[in-house]
């Protein structure tokens, strides 16, 4: 049976077919759909974990208990999970454990660009790199086998075009692997220094065996063609190379990319005249191949930033001129993403901007608060950074005698992911920061996954709902408030109060994401054109339901309007009211 699957869907399918019983992840583009597609299988326990570190720890525990496990995350998630990962390399596993790192070259949906192939040699774990959806599925099965045979976590590294590119995949029935019982084994699993030193030797010896294995791994293969040019490549880069060079060259296509098959590389190199290493981002293969004393052409012609493409190869290797883009004599106006109509983050940003606050932002939909006209966010670094950075900024500012205030703005899912430890730090170290939590009842940015504050699990079961205000209070925050995000006056009052309070403050702004299913539908609004003075105050909230016409008039698109009333609340002339309703006077 052939199914048309994205790489993410294929990995989920592979996990299912090859007998996984356990999956854990924290969402993150482009990895999110892996777990989303495993959730429906009744044979597989799946959870959204609080963050990637927890997901990997949960996965490691499940592996010890005997499950075949998939843990998935985006590239930056691997930074968060690095601590357990680097030591799981020592403990090894029981049931097969595959960790998927979904990298995002060009940063379609990310705050940085990382080539996580570098993680494999750093953490000393084997790595698989599928080049299409079929391989993505197949290599999950291979990954489980390698993991169990060599007693190691396996890194599967994909990129956006693998994760979100779809292709035909031959699918099979599920196979149930034999049960692997847990046996207590402290020298293996308890990484106190004395045991860790022993395991360090095991890791080294394992790496040597993996290197031999790499030579015979069938997904590392040579495709002979004319031998004037040889191309060494892996992952999506293989597809671009095939697109451009077809059958006119020879290929060494690698899928097991750490440790590399040295003999295979030497043999390939000895038979072709000129070698190109074609890879996206870092010179990962290139550096290792050069270290073997083999001369290759790589990053001197192929960029080390952003996505690779067939066009780039044509230009850089074949010297084909890329046709100049014809200039059109009309504006091809950019269409950046925006906060949705009715987004409950908007009123908070509006007030933060109005009060002229220095705002340390965080990661989520609310990152869009940096865009005009709100322009309310000063910084975006990583999940949870808002709290630590606002605390550090304020402490240093006081220390230096400037006494500048900074607020932290953080989403609900991000608060649980990486904000709680920052808040504990602020309380512990006698900070007086203001933390604004945008609780839209979901992880919106990545497509509405539940989190510890939502009262529902990945599998859709009801569970304990952890309240952010309770967390803050129990951490010793004395000034805690919960406010409806749509109530502008209350929002402003709460923020002003928190700024004046001597000690840490947490304000939870609670209102569900406007796109979240099951919300009460509010009636749309309209602008009374008689009363409207065209002052454009409403446009300053940047709602896409407000339409600015060439004659300077503003109307509301009733199909887009969610009835949040924020525009009506900022209108100084009370010209905005419910459709057919009375204008507030």
């Amino acid at each position: 049976m052939k199914l048309f699957l994205s790489g993410d869907e294929a990995i989920a399918r592979g996990a299912y077919e090859y007998g996984a019983t356990f999956a854990a992840a924290y969402p993150g583009t482009p990895s999110t759909e892996i777990i989303e597609n495993l959730i429906p299988y009744k044979e597989v326990y799946a959870e959204w974990s609080t963050n990637e570190k927890v997901a990997l720890e949960v996965g490691l525990g499940a592996s010890l208990a005997g499950s075949r496990v998939v843990v998935a995350m985006k590239h930056v998630g691997v930074n968060v999970a690095a601590d357990p990962l680097f030591t799981a390399a020592y403990t090894g596993v029981n049931g097969g454990l595959v960790l998927v790192s979904a990298d995002d070259p060009t940063m379609h949906s990310s705050q940085n660009e990382q080539d996580n192939r570098n993680v494999a040699p750093f953490a000393k774990i084997p790595m698989l790199e599928p080049a299409d959806s079929q391989e993505a599925k197949d290599l999950v099965g291979e990954g489980f086998k390698i993991s169990e045979e060599f007693d190691t976590p396996v890194l599967m590294r994909i990129t956006t075009r693998i994760a979100h590119g779809k292709g035909l995949v031959e699918c099979q029935k599920r196979q149930e692997p034999p049960r692997r019982e847990y046996k207590k084994n402290s020298p293996k699993y308890c990484m106190v220094p004395a045991f860790a030193r022993q395991r360090r030797l095991v890791v080294e010896e394992r790496t040597a065996r993996l290197k031999e294995f790499s030579e015979t791994f069938p997904y590392n293969r040579i495709e002979w063609g004319p031998k004037d040019v040889g191309i060494i490549t892996s992952g999506i880069s293989y597809q671009y190379a095939k697109e451009v060079f077809g059958d006119e060259v020879s290929y060494l296509k690698l899928a097991f990319t750490w440790p590399l098959p040295e003999k295979m590389i030497r043999e390939f190199a000895s038979k072709v005249k000129k070698i190109y290493v074609i890879e996206e981002l870092d010179p990962y293969l290139e550096t290792q191949i050069r270290a073997l004393g083999i001369e290759v052409i790589g990053k001197e012609v192929i960029p080390n930033m952003f996505e690779l493409s067939a066009e780039i190869l044509r230009e850089k290797i074949l010297g084909e001129k890329v046709a100049e883009e014809e200039k059109l004599d009309v504006p091809v106006t950019p269409r950046p993403p925006v906060l949705c109509a009715g987004c409950p983050h908007r009123p908070i940003f509006h007030v933060v901007k109005k009060l002229g606050l220095t705002a340390m932002g965080d990661i989520g939909c609310y990152g869009l608060g940096v865009a005009p006209p709100l322009e309310a966010v000063d910084t975006t670094v990583c999940m949870g950074a808002s709290i630590g950075m606002s605390h550090g900024f304020q402490k240093a500012s006081a220390w230096l005698g400037d006494n500048k205030k900074a607020v932290g703005i953080i989403g609900d899912s991000t608060f649980f992911h990486g904000g709680m430890t920052g808040l504990a730090d602020m309380v512990f170290n006698k900070g007086a920061g203001v933390v604004l939590v945008l609780d839209n009842r979901t992880t919106a940015m990545t497509g509405h996954q539940p989190h510890p504050g939502t009262g529902i699990t990945a599998k859709g079961e009801a569970t304990e709902e952890i309240k952010i205000e309770d967390v803050a209070r129990s951490m010793g925050v004395k000034d805690v408030a919960v406010v409806d995000s749509y109530d502008l006056e209350a929002v402003e009052k709460a923020i002003r109060h928190a700024l004046d309070f001597d000690g840490p403050s947490v304000v939870v702004f609670r209102r569900a994401c406007a796109l979240l299913k099951g919300q009460e539908k509010l009636p749309p609004l309209e602008i009374d054109q008689e009363t409207c003075t065209k002052c454009h105050s409403c446009l300053r909230i940047g709602c896409p339901a407000l339409v600015h016409h060439p004659d300077k008039s503003v109307t509301i698109d009733v199909n887009a309007c969610t009835g949040c009333t924020v525009c009506a609340q900022v209108c100084p002339f009370d010209a905005i009211a419910k459709v057919g309703g009375e204008v507030r006077g």
């Binding site: 046709a323 059109l328 106006t333 269409r335 869009l368 446009l539 896409p544 407000l546």
Partner: protein
């Protein structure tokens, strides 16, 4: 190398290009082609510009369409057709929905919308098909939600695939209650 056909589906996040792309790739698979499709999810869903690349033929390698090589661009919105125009090959076809969705900078009065987009497209494309899919869906089909399938109907006329395959895949991909309306929408789109 065996010929690969390149199609771009472009529009604005939330317009439903993804269902259209799913039906299209289902049709191509049913017709026996190797198919690859590539899209980017995430940030762009929030009202941003979106593109789905669909490539089919005997064997497809890269999931991405190169500039100047698209056989057909199906655009759900006028400005988006202009934006992706550099991808069209010299003798390519554009099917465009006669709809203007104003991007944020225009809504804010900070930029202009190219209301003459269709004139420019007409000048640049060898073949241009325009239709007002929402009007067709409302007036000829009686169901505004079938806009996507109206557009697919218009696209299908420029692709060499049997009508029965399209009908079969549409049946499989739309809610059972809307099958008749969607088949009607497909036929209506084919009139353009």
């Amino acid at each position: 190398m065996a010929k690969v056909t390149n199609v771009l589906l472009v529009g604005v996040g939330g317009q439903g290009t993804i269902l259209a792309a799913r039906i299209l790739s289902g049709v191509l698979q049913e017709a026996g082609y190797d198919v690859k499709m590539s899209e980017v999810h995430g940030m762009s869903q929030r009202g941003g510009s979106v593109v789905t690349f669909v490539r089919y033929g005997e064997k497809v390698y890269s999931p991405l369409v190169e500039k100047g090589t698209a056989d057909i661009i199906l655009s759900f919105e006028k400005l988006e057709a202009l934006r992706w125009l550099p991808y069209l090959k010299p003798d390519g076809t554009i099917v465009v929905n006669d709809l203007a969705l104003l991007p944020a900078p225009v809504l804010l009065g900070k930029a202009e919308y190219p209301y003459n987009a269709l004139d420019i497209l007409r000048e640049k494309a060898k073949e241009l098909i325009t239709l007002d899919a929402s009007k067709v869906a409302a007036e000829e089909v009686g169901n505004i939600r079938t806009q996507n399938v109206v557009l697919l109907g218009a696209l299908a006329k420029h692709m060499d695939i049997e009508e029965e395959i399209w009908q079969k895949i549409i049946r499989e991909n739309v809610p059972p209650k809307t099958i008749e309306a969607n088949l009607k929408a497909f036929a209506a789109g084919g009139q353009y």
